[in-house]
């Protein structure tokens, strides 16, 4: 019998090639199962030593039904669908697919900035409708090297946005209370200590944060009220970090010039959502993380985290560091070859 049981929860016909490759040196059995109810999921997880999770099974009940589980790894970047607190109490390390799509998401944010800056969407509509160079489409248009970009959240993606946009030489402001001052310095950006200052000073505000108790509905009226009327708001992380009704009100009231949204509070977005009726709002269907590469990387990343934990290490992408107080000492995470 294998030493460990690794459960892929939420799929039944996955080829599991990436998972097997990452777990090749671990004496484990990999099984997959797609539960149809929470009760069924609770049965499945009982004897699992590690869980790779697709779908909505990270509830308190399911987590509490585990008996041997050391790690719960999700295939996505976001882990807001997992009850991390329950995992921490149970001594389960939560990991995600960190790094699998930071280039893609940062590209999407930059694409929104460029698209809004160059008015590409309204110009496209206008030209195709026979209105060649309507004045209202083109001006005012402030060049990026005279503009200010405000980034909220300075993890890998936020950093990549700053790095990529730097070749246009904007002024860049960053808010992230959990990042050391030296990181801002290394990236040559200005650290801002008050969220409102980002909104009042920026021409483009980009949010790139995990959704958690602290960031849920963190952005709303008080921030939109202080924006420049010529500024744009761009959200490529999670819809629920914004109070969406207040965003709609702010756009209706002309508090900002427009928005670029890859994410919404409810997804798929309601076709009657007023945001979809606004010409100054550019949208996409939560695809910022997608590319031919990131899709293939996701199972590798998720399984590599599990492999690290089963080897007795910390994973590189641990997301509930407070769990360390509830479990035994582990060795530092190390990158085993380029992972």
């Amino acid at each position: 019998m294998a030493q460990f049981k690794v459960l892929v929860l939420g799929s039944e016909d996955d080829p599991l090639e990436a998972e097997r490759a990452e777990l090749a040196d671990i004496d484990c059995e990999i099984v997959q199962a797609k539960p149809t109810s929470e009760g069924e999921a609770m049965e499945l997880v009982r004897d699992a030593d590690a869980i790779l999770m697709r779908g909505p099974w990270g509830t308190e009940q399911v987590i509490n039904a585990t008996q041997n589980c050391q790690v719960l790894s999700v295939y996505s970047h976001g882990f807001n669908h997992i009850d991390s607190e329950a995992c921490t109490e149970k001594g389960i390390i939560v990991t995600n697919g960190a790094g699998m799509c930071f280039e893609e998401v940062s590209d999407q944010a930059c694409a929104y900035i460029m698209s809004l800056y160059r008015h590409i969407v309204p110009a496209n509509i206008s030209v195709k409708a026979g209105d060649w160079r309507g004045e209202n489409v083109i001006l005012p248009m402030k060049p990026l090297d005279e503009s200010t970009i405000g980034i909220i959240g300075f993890g890998n993606i936020g950093k990549a946005i700053a790095r990529k946009m730097s070749s246009w030489r904007p002024e860049t402001l960053v808010y992230d209370p959990y990042v050391g001052p030296w990181v801002f310095k290394e990236y040559g950006v200005e650290q801002v200590f008050d969220l409102k200052d980002i909104f009042s000073r920026s021409d483009y505000v980009v949010t790139i944060l995990p959704l958690n108790n602290e960031t849920y509905h963190m952005i709303g009226k008080e921030h939109f009220d202080v924006m420049k009327s010529t500024a744009y708001f761009i959200n490529v992380c999670r819809g629920a970090i914004v109070r969406e009704t207040e965003l709609i009100d702010a756009l209706n009231a002309g508090k900002m010039r427009g928005a670029g949204l890859d994410v919404f509070e409810q997804e798929p977005v309601d076709p009657n959502n007023p945001l979809l009726k606004m010409d100054n709002v550019v949208v996409s269907p939560h695809l910022a993380g997608g590319s031919t590469r990131s899709g293939a990387l996701a199972p590798h990343r998720a399984a590599a985290q599990v492999a690290a934990v089963l080897r007795g290490q910390w994973p590189m992408a641990g997301q509930n560091p407070e769990v360390r107080a509830n479990i035994d000492l582990r060795k530092n995470a190390t990158a085993v070859a380029p992972n």
Binding site: G99, P181, W182, K185, R324, A325, T334
Partner: protein
């Protein structure tokens, strides 16, 4: 905000900077100037955190720390601190990482350029009245060359960024950095120290001194390095097997070295390295500038406040302690709490 109380131990001033950080948040600060161990043991019993711009903590001090949750040491290196004793007693350890990132990375680049341009030899020749170009070759063209970086923390990253500005290709090895972080930094990742040694025209070290990094560059590495390559060391002398370095230089296994640190400091006046015209030396001052040294003291106070308030510090150096004490709040940037 809860009343917090800190202990500041100093042998070299800094009192006003630390007081400023503490008083700005209403904390109380006890100052001990050049105390002995017994005085420290007494003082730590009644404070939330100890900050030291002098003495390194002993096991006996850690054992006396019941109320006291952490020890903030100055500088970067923490060789010489009893890490096991700290973890056993649930003591959070932090340094003042990053205070001198610019200075240390500049020192590395200075040594690199001094080596690349054969400055030591020519400075000596010109000043002794010899004007000649006969010792120039071989001299590399930086955009055709590779810098190999071991350790991509703040300093290693800054060195790589600056090296790129000179057109150097950057290859780096750091087993504790994730692949995506390496990618974001934009260096080519290597999978071993030896792989870096083989490729580097300039090998530069930016690691802590630990059991793992002690003598990590020695005979084996010098033998696989290019005969035209230079070793740059502004980290800790003991990361390099100095006897092996002297032998490698004498045997022409590498072309030269730029050193800010030595196995023994001050280095003895008869150290053969000091007689070599292909070796540039400085006296372990890579992190110094007035701004950096003031910053390091301010940061000492700030990290102390974080620990006293129940946060993790920004620069935790013994993560193993996380398994021995209750969960804490994440560190927040100064100015946001």
């Amino acid at each position: 905000m809860a009343q917090i109380k800190g202990l500041f131990i100093t042998a070299s001033g800094g009192i006003s900077e630390v007081k400023e950080a503490w008083h700005s948040l209403g904390g109380e600060l006890i100052v001990l100037e050049e105390p002995d161990e017994g005085q420290i043991i007494e003082a730590v019993k009644d404070v939330d955190v100890a900050m030291s711009l002098g003495a390194a903590p002993s096991r006996a001090i850690f054992e006396a720390m019941d109320r006291c949750q952490g020890w903030v040491g100055f500088g970067h290196g923490y060789d010489g601190v009893d890490l096991d004793a700290a973890v056993e007693n649930g003591i959070i350890l932090t340094n003042t990482a990053s205070f001198g990132t610019d200075e240390v990375s500049n020192q590395a680049m200075m040594h690199l350029l001094v080596c690349a341009r054969k400055f030591v030899l020519h400075d000596k020749l010109v000043k002794s009245g010899v004007w000649t170009r006969e010792h120039l070759a071989p001299m590399g063209h930086l955009p055709h060359q590779t810098i190999g970086i071991i350790g991509t923390g703040n300093i290693g990253r800054a060195v790589g960024r600056k090296a790129k500005a000179f057109g150097l290709r950057v290859v780096a090895y750091d087993p504790y950095i994730s692949s995506w972080d390496t990618k974001e930094i934009g260096f080519e990742p290597a999978t071993s120290i030896n792989e870096v040694c083989e490729q580097a025209d300039y090998l530069t070290l930016h690691t802590m001194l630990t059991e793992e990094t002690f003598h990590m560059i020695g005979d084996q590495q010098f033998k696989i390095m290019k005969p035209t390559a230079y070793l740059i060391n502004v980290s800790r002398g003991k990361c390099v097997d100095e006897a092996a370095l002297i032998r490698a230089l004498n045997d022409g296994e590498i072309a030269g070295a730029g050193l800010d640190t030595f196995e023994q400091e001050p280095t003895p006046a008869d150290n053969p390295l000091l007689k070599m015209d292909n070796v540039s030396v400085t006296s372990h001052y890579a992190s110094y500038s007035e701004v950096a040294f003031t910053r390091r003291i301010t940061q000492l106070g700030e990290e102390g406040v974080r620990i006293a308030l129940g946060q993790w510090p920004m620069s935790l150096i013994n993560p193993a302690v996380q398994a021995t004490i209750p969960a804490r709040d994440p560190a927040r940037a100064w100015g946001t709490f």
